[in-house]
């Protein structure tokens, strides 16, 4: 479990994160959503310790990362896996070497054991025939999957995903979302996903935190979000007429007043 307590963060006297508090639960996909510039990425970087918050603290299973020394952070970070927006794969390494890198760095396994583990996680993310390819030779979706494989190869307790669907087509996005959800349940991890993709929100959002202009505007689950009366949230999620129609449909569906022919158009 990750607890965020009254986090503030600013750059050059401009407040980017304003007094955000939340609890990110274990075994669930915790989504941080919001428009571009709402402070999602800065919040996530504060969570993983890449940015120091100006005020407040982040607790990992009760231990504050903000007051940890360098060694403590190193220990903690070995329990954290992160998927970056651009995947952040090492260009000079093959897919296999990328996934093996954390094992090389932090374990005493022999080459055979490491290779077995790498093949196991690559198979888990449904990527079996790309071991010897370089990141420049694979597609965006495959890069994300390699990024996930690298993030989970050390069996982390916490998984962070920054915009996992950016630059992907809707079908591949769905595959990545499902994978994140399955892995979260399978490994019992605390997963934090930073996104503005509404498909992801509806697909995997066990817990959703909506950020607006640097503060937490709304908190709930994917079941509540459609029926929320929060104006800022509604403006964000129902930005298109199509989605507004979808909302009305959902509401009618929930009330049980929707006709059978509208429910399953053919």
């Amino acid at each position: 479990m990750i607890e965020i307590k009254n986090i503030h963060k600013g750059f050059n006297d401009k407040a980017v994160i304003k007094d955000v508090s939340a609890v990110l639960e274990t075994g669930k996909c915790n989504l941080i959503i919001g428009a571009s510039g709402s402070g999602k990425t800065v919040l996530m970087k504060c969570l993983v310790g890449l940015f120091e918050p100006d005020q407040g603290e982040v607790l990992y299973d009760g231990e504050s990362i903000t007051s940890m020394n360098e060694d403590g952070r190193k220990q903690l970070r070995q329990q954290i896996g992160m998927l970056f927006q651009g995947s952040a794969l090492f260009d000079s390494m093959t897919v296999e070497q990328n996934v093996m890198f954390p094992l090389d760095m932090f374990t005493n396994l022999n080459q055979k054991q490491k290779l077995e583990k790498v093949n196991q996680v690559l198979a888990r993310v449904n990527l079996t025939a790309a071991n010897q390819k370089f990141p420049s030779e694979i597609s965006g979706g495959m890069k994300k999957r390699v990024g996930i494989a690298r993030a989970i190869v050390l069996n982390p307790k916490f998984l962070f995903c920054d915009e996992p669907n950016s630059g992907l087509d809707p079908k591949t996005s769905l595959v990545i979302d499902k994978l994140i959800k399955e892995i979260t349940i399978e490994f019992g991890m605390t997963t934090v996903v930073n996104t503005h993709d509404m498909n992801s929100v509806m697909e995997i959002g066990d817990k959703i935190i909506f950020m607006h202009q640097g503060h937490k505007e709304w908190e709930g689950s994917n079941k509540d979000i459609i029926f929320s009366k929060n104006q800022e949230l509604n403006q964000f999620i129902f930005a298109s007429e199509f989605l507004q129609d979808a909302k009305e449909l959902r509401m009618l569906e929930a009330k049980g007043t929707i006709s059978e022919d509208r429910r399953s158009p053919s």
């Binding site: 970056f84 952040a88 090492f90």
Partner: protein, 245 residues
């Protein structure tokens, strides 16, 4: 950003490099990789430049020493001392500042922009120790070897040019090389080389590691690092000459 901010961040970067390696074997592997990148990949340009440097120095020295009162062995003495004292260490390191420096700055800059450095940090790796330290150590190991190679080839280039152009025969050149040789000059040249090696690896590493923005900034960081490295090399050249000679 002012000079003191850069200097402070530079010192913090250097201080941050000193920590216990997470895995000695991977650090060693990275060091060997950097020795290859900085040393082996620069051999070609060093060989070409140093041979022509020696050849041109011989021809131009002979051109200026037209009086028969000065023995021809003096040409070899001048070529030898010029190459050992100045041309091999300083000029080769200025060239390496361009070749190696821009590569280091762009490699680290690209890693920063594409979040590869963040990925390493998240894994719990000290990125200053893992990415910068091996580059500096590798430069300190291989650049002096390149400078010694450049000095040898430069002197040999002078001999070949002297023979081919008929300025002075090889035997006279060889005699000149042994005349009034001061071993301290080699110590001085190596002292300069170690100083330059540190400059041409740490300055580009600083600019590359702290890149912010996009691909345009990576290019700017490369250019800036080469300019600053060259200026610092020239300042260090003068300071060391004033202190050690």
């Amino acid at each position: 950003m002012d000079f003191f901010t850069h200097f402070g961040r530079y010192l913090l970067m250097i201080k941050g490099m000193f920590s216990k390696p997470e895995n000695m074997r991977l650090y060693w592997k990275e060091l060997m990789h950097q020795c290859n990148e900085i040393g082996v990949r620069s051999i070609g340009i060093v060989v070409i430049i140093s041979i022509f440097l020696g050849a041109v120095t011989t021809v131009q020295t002979a051109y200026q020493l037209i009086t028969p009162l000065i023995p021809k062995t003096v040409i070899a003495v001048i070529v030898r001392d010029n190459i050992i004292l100045e041309l091999a260490p300083t000029l080769i390191c200025v060239v390496l500042a361009g070749v190696v420096g821009s590569r280091i700055a762009s490699e680290l800059g690209n890693m920063r922009i594409s979040e590869q450095i963040d990925a390493l940090e998240i894994m719990g790796i000290n990125t200053k120790a893992y990415l910068i330290m091996p580059k500096i150590v590798a430069a300190l190991l291989v650049v002096p070897c390149l400078v010694v190679l450049a000095a040898v080839l430069g002197i040999w280039g002078g001999k070949v040019a002297g023979g081919l152009s008929g300025i002075l025969p090889a035997e006279i050149y060889n005699d000149g090389l042994l005349e009034d040789f001061i071993p301290y000059n080699v110590f001085f040249a190596l002292s300069k080389t170690y100083t330059y090696s540190f400059i041409i690896s740490s300055i580009p590493a600083y600019y590359g590691y702290h890149v912010q923005g996009g691909s345009l900034e990576i290019g700017r960081a490369g250019t800036k690092s080469v300019i600053v490295s060259c200026i610092l090399i020239l300042l260090a050249d003068y300071a060391l000459a004033a202190l050690l000679l």
